[in-house]
Symmetry: C2
Subunit: 439 residues, 2 copies
């Protein structure tokens, strides 16, 4: 059927539903064929978003001179999403359900066809329009928590997220999935690992490295794998589920306290450091190969608060001691990302001694991002240890920072903070390295 009766094709095109097929021509030789993709409030006026047969999405500004046709035999295309409850209470379907907390980020983002960039979704229902397969194994309840890119998510948000996780379990969720921008996903995973105790089911953070307008987007498959873990695993751990390789079909389950984003764009960017992932998800289901904490009978609780008076400083050659001292000023604790086994230039010993003398906790990690720190191998380490620097085994700098904020919130005096930092709260010390790790 042809739709050229109206002089302006936009009047008809704007009424088409998601999933309907259309062929568009600009009348000067440019043609597009594809299916309609959901619009958002941010999609520009007169902009039609099509998923092309190539798999890519394009935004097309429809001029009055354009023509279009809709093939009479409508091909199979996704219809409107299945009915799914929104919000933490109420819901659709019977039986066990999984809570999906959304925070923004690529996995819950849309291309803004005005600017060409990617922006968070404005409406959580769009997620299920993109991912209709999510509910195939059982109900998923969407809980919008906030809506921003992950570089803007910080310690207050970690506490808010922890509260929503506890609420979801309180409402009866079997497991909780958190869709989170990948930039700071590992920081959030670490913080939640310390904040959440007595979990009756898994808390699974998932993200997307590729935006949803690309055929290579990893969002849908990561989300599906995360939901599968949340639905089927019966342990009480905070984990990250992301692609374990470049192709779909295998997803790594990383412990929240030992994972890091190690590539800016690859789909398999997330790596467990200092040990293997907890397990994997593939077509055969969820496979766990490492020890996990069993699900608690509950109720889950927040072991807060965090105290933001902690910092993280990476040492580098040429860093003036005065600048480092200034950075640490006013903090109750600071994590240093030192070199190698945990060193900083010996010129830094003075300010570190003074800071410790004034009651600041100074903790050491390694900027190598793998392996233990050890103050007893080199002279510099021994002097730092003697000055009172706390060596934190194989904690990643970012994990140590999240743990520091948690420890500062739980103890008033430096000795108490140090004791908490050295205790194993959430499986964060990996004394058993992978084979050859210390060879």
């Amino acid at each position: 059927m042809s739709g050229v009766a109206d002089p302006d094709p936009w009047n008809a095109l704007r009424t088409l539903r998601t999933g309907q097929r259309v062929e568009l021509s600009d009348g000067r030789g440019q043609r597009w064929a594809g299916t309609i993709v959901p619009r958002s409030e941010m999609t520009g006026e007169r902009v039609l978003v099509l998923k092309l047969d190539s798999g890519y999405n394009v935004g097309i500004r429809v001029e009055p001179t354009f023509t279009f046709r809709r093939p009479s035999a409508e091909p199979t295309a996704p219809g409107p999403p299945p009915p799914v409850a929104e919000g933490p209470v109420g819901g659709h379907g019977d039986g066990p359900w999984v809570a999906l907390l959304t925070t923004g980020g690529t996995i819950a983002s849309r291309v803004d066809y005005e600017t060409g960039g990617v922006r968070p979704v404005q409406n959580e229902r769009e997620i299920l329009e993109f991912f209709p397969e999510l509910t195939s194994a059982g109900p998923v309840r969407i809980v919008p928590v906030f809506d921003r890119l992950s570089e803007d998510i910080g310690p207050e948000d970690w506490e808010a997220l922890a509260q929503r996780v506890v609420d979801a379990f309180g409402d009866g969720a079997e497991g909780v999935v958190i869709a989170h921008g990948t930039d700071t996903l590992a920081y959030t995973a670490a913080a939640l690992s310390f904040l959440l105790q007595d979990l009756p089911g898994p808390v699974v953070l998932v993200g997307a490295q590729r935006s949803p307008d690309r055929p290579s987007s990893d969002g849908p498959s990561n989300l599906a794998a995360g939901v599968e873990v949340a639905r089927s695993a019966r342990w009480g751990e905070v984990v990250v589920v992301m692609h374990s390789g470049l192709s779909d079909g295998r997803y790594a389950i990383h412990r929240g306290t030992g994972v890091r984003k190690m590539h800016s764009s690859r789909r398999d960017a997330f790596e467990s450091r200092n040990g293997p992932p907890i397990g994997f998800v593939d077509v055969g289901g969820v496979h766990v190969t490492e020890p996990v904490r069993p699900a608690s009978p509950g109720p889950p609780r927040i072991d807060g608060p965090l105290d933001r008076a902690g910092g993280l400083l990476w040492f580098y050659p040429g860093l003036p001691p005065a600048r480092a001292q200034e950075f640490a000023a006013g903090l109750r604790g600071i994590v240093l990302a030192g070199t190698g086994l945990g060193h900083v230039g010996s010129a830094h010993l003075d300010w570190i001694r003074r800071a410790i003398g004034a009651g600041t906790v100074v903790a050491m990690t390694t900027q190598c991002l793998a392996g233990n720190v050890d103050p007893f191998v080199y002279a510099t380490g021994r002097e730092l240890e003697r000055a009172g620097v706390l060596y934190l085994g194989d904690l990643l700098p970012e994990v140590a920072y999240a743990k520091l904020l948690w420890a500062l919130g739980h103890a008033a005096d430096p000795k108490g903070v140090e004791a908490l930092l050295l205790s194993d709260v959430a499986g964060e010390f990996h004394w058993r390295h992978t084979a050859g790790g210390d060879a």
Copy 2:
């Protein structure tokens, strides 16, 4: 023969030569058997250092009540080292020679048997006593440059080292090896890559992850592989040569601008990021698989100076913008290690805009330590780019920092500094990623 005529065994033991075998008893059931290891000025009084048959070295404080014997059939043991010239001029042997610049660090360190820690050698001749095989293929001239652990090596030292490299080539060296502590070896390699131009031969940095008293020490084999590259390769690159796996026999050749220490203790800790190593060294010799810059007819020159008014700041969630601003205050340039494709929290935009307005160069890298930064994917990136933040492709944060000091030393105005930062000076941009790198 027995040595108990003198009432104090120390008087005889102190005269024994390196490599001689001795059996020692404390008269109360403790016995040691091994060969004498070189003493240094730091070896404690009355302390005998033995390499045990297990391969480990021990320091034994010899009490007057001890007894010892020397087996009459002296087993094969390393004798005194072959004669080798010291210093940058003069020398031993004919034909092509390699300069070995020592800076301290594990590869040139000794166990201090008083404290149990590892300290730099006091005498560069000790290196050749430990590594007699170094000169098997030709002369090596030792050039002591300085003697400290690598966490204390900074920008002034990079310039001093560059001068000694130029001097060594000027004296006729075919290639230059720099023995360097591994903690900051990659920083030095990056800085030398920018400082040294028109190289008539390779400059090879080598280090040791394990101290020389351990049978698993990688120092000798890394040093031998590094000398082989310096002797046989005819290109003008600054490279790092270290174990490519846990066993001896294969050494990776990393370009100085793309390598990082990625484990605090493993022997294969050094990794080329954003691409494969340049090549490998194995029993078959030196194999190069990536493009290298051919040796220049020379003369080599230092393209200095460095300007230390640059800094490096790692972003993390919860970093207060005021603290970041204070850290950057007074600097002519700062490298940010942002998240993902190169982001920081949007609350940091204000101080970044003000800093750029005041003439500070603000450059972006990724704390993922692999992959490109890209300001055009997400809204935050676009805003940072619009504010004037310079996106540095796939430069590692540490490499970007070294390059920043170099660029600040070469241009007075921000635009000039930025142009230098974006230019390819030493093969530091790896636009061609490994297969699948962007999949």
